[in-house]
């Protein structure tokens, strides 16, 4: 771990440029749709925030989807009650998610290890079940929370007459769909990345790493780990709330399925796929998963049959159903396999994999003609 700012500044600038230029370089890759780009940015925020907790402290939360969901609900309510402007929605999302994280974190952090994971999971499932049942007046149950013509929208109605159709979300008049929506999310992603980087490089971040590394030493060094953990938990919950509110800003509805534990599992996968505890890893993981989800889900048997049309007919009949298992609605199967493969072979994620590859190549260059030293086993 190097301590230096110059390095980080370049890293940050590269990150910002790469994110903002996504419409350009994703075009040849078939990923240049505003909807998809928004998803990249939003889930990037979610994963980066999750990584502040899991990556730095090693506490595996299986309930972060609850904060995502609460962020969405809060944002939609802000649209319904006050204004279609994105800023208050975003603030409500972050605020409510943060408050929920404070409560859940306060209770869950009394335990560590697997108990912590189960507690967070239990709280998230509770939120999910409540959203589906008793809280229906707030969440609109299975249908999901949507905008309606009859919503009060107090602030908006003070200034303009309500128009005939449903109003769209906006940022002081700029409609938050399509590319403007993406750039809004991207700006927040870059901000989120910057904050995460500052946390990683701060004394606070050092404390969190200390908690992951050796809690005993932390205690006997005079540090109270509980408030550090709680702060990290709330911060990452607020990131999730931000991501949730952005989901609602780009598409103003909120459903309870966003809080299900499979959604919590997804953000875990994004983080470990990219690289737990690394700065850019979670973004890479989120991007890859959303990208392949988009690509893979689009396939169906007809498309596949066309793709493999150069093969002999008998082979096509064999290949298409097999490949078909993994694409389209079978995308989750691929996701599960990916999960297993990454955990087994690449516990450090893509970032570590690339690091190793670079080291390996450098070593080879150094030892031209000599023996190549075997690489270290994946760290645990």
């Amino acid at each position: 771990m190097k301590i230096g700012t110059m390095n980080d500044l370049t890293r940050f600038l590269i990150f910002a440029v790469v994110i903002l230029a996504m419409p350009v370089w994703l075009d040849p890759l078939g990923g240049n749709y505003p909807d998809l780009l928004q998803k990249f940015a939003i889930y990037g925020i979610f994963a980066i925030g999750f990584n502040i907790l899991f990556g730095l402290t090693g506490y595996l939360s299986f309930g972060h989807a609850a904060f995502l969901g609460v962020g969405s609900y809060a944002a939609v309510w802000s649209f319904k009650l006050f204004t279609m402007n994105a800023i208050p929605a975003l603030m409500f999302g972050v605020l409510f998610a943060g408050a929920l994280a404070l409560i859940i974190g306060f209770l869950s952090l009394r335990r560590s290890g697997i108990y912590f994971s189960i507690l967070t999971l239990a709280f998230a499932q509770m939120s999910y079940n409540l959203a589906y049942s008793v809280l229906t007046p707030i969440t609109n149950g299975e249908t999901g929370l949507q905008l309606a013509q009859s919503d009060p929208r107090v602030i908006d109605n003070m200034f303009v007459e309500a128009s005939a159709g449903l109003p769209s979300t906006n940022l002081f008049g700029l409609t938050m769909s399509g590319y403007p929506g993406f750039y809004f999310c991207a700006a927040l992603l870059i901000l989120g990345f910057f904050i995460s980087m500052r946390i990683f490089r701060s004394p606070f971040g050092l404390m969190l790493k200390g908690i992951k590394s050796n809690q005993n030493r932390m205690m006997y060094t005079g540090l109270n780990t509980r408030p550090y953990m709680l702060t990290a938990f709330v911060i990452s919950g607020m990131y999730a709330g931000l991501a949730g509110s952005l989901l609602a800003i780009t598409d103003p509805l909120a459903g309870a399925e966003r809080m299900q534990w499979t959604a919590s599992g997804e953000v875990v996968l994004m983080t470990i796929l990219g690289g737990v505890g690394t700065l850019v890893g979670p973004m890479i993981g989120a991007g890859l998963i959303k990208y392949f989800e988009n690509i893979f889900s689009a396939f169906n048997d007809t498309v596949l049959a066309e793709m493999f049309s150069y093969l002999p007919d008998a082979l096509v009949e064999l290949v298409v159903p097999v490949v078909g298992l993994f694409v389209g609605s079978g995308w989750h199967l691929t996701l599960g396999l990916l999960f297993v493969v990454v955990v087994i072979f690449l516990p450090g994620g893509i970032v570590e994999g690339v690091d190793k590859l670079v080291k390996f190549i450098r070593n080879r260059e150094k030892n031209v003609g000599g023996k190549v030293t075997p690489q270290d086993q994946p760290g645990e």
Partner: protein, 338 residues
Amino acid sequence: MDAVFLQILNGLDKGAAYALIALGLTLVFGTLGIVNFAHGALFMLGAFCAVTFNKMLLISTKILDPTVTLFKAYKEKPYLEIWFPDVGPVLVDYSVPLSILLAIPVMLLIGFILERGLIKHFYSRPHADQILVTFGLAIVIQELIKAVFGANPIPQGAPDILAGSAAVGSWIGLGENVVYPWWRLIYLSFSGIIIFGVFAFLQFTTYGMVVRAGMRDRETVGLLGINIQKRFTIVFSLATAVAGLAGVMYTPILPPDYHMGMDFLVLSFVVVVVGGMGSLGGAVLAGFLLGIVQSFASMTEVKAILPGIDQIIIYLVAVIILLVLPRGLMGRAGVMDD
């Protein structure tokens, strides 16, 4: 009094399923030290063993429908009924209990393959990695089942003779309206036998003795020169089979679908934690207890006072127990304390 008794009965069968899954989870955790998030998927696989068996019995051919005389009509008739007109329909009727015969070898084999192929590489990895890899495995299993059997629940019938309800109330001197479906009664007894069997296996066989010793102190048992690896495989297969059988027998109560594993897993983990990580007795106790608690929470009278309580009661109990009794109801010191 009648109502209370009825709620207890109603809670028992769900509790029995929790207890069986939690028992396997605890066994695997206690001996192998593995946190297995795929255990619910194994329960689901068991249920689909029953579905498969039923489908196998019903492999049909088209025959002329003799009841339609005006024109040639065809209908499907299972080969089984054509070949064995007497026994065939009976076999189909009893397909769920009979599928145990299929489920036992299949589940043991699945357990064996999983342990040898995947789980054994994770003994020394952190719990977080174990959670992640078994979570991935659970998704894989669930999606494969979805791909093969579709997304909709597939109802399985109990044998006709067990279709009605038992007048449990009048047996023990309670009201006439205390009735309990026969199949649930069977499920309860079946669970009792399995739980008893597992405990007897651990208590009275040398194998079981070593497993119990291993749950207390894995290193020492390893040092004694006992082939721990082999026993791990057997324990994992056993736990898989227990989960599978629990799944088979549960099919008439709940039509199996691909995500039932996940639904039960989360609850079963909560059960394990409430019972105390690594305590077999605790897992069984907590399973039944939470089943009953959940059943009481679903009473209309209770819901009138605390709306929605039935949805969250298990989690709520879990949270309270974990915060008050860090080691669960019967957990030992030193297990997962970190």
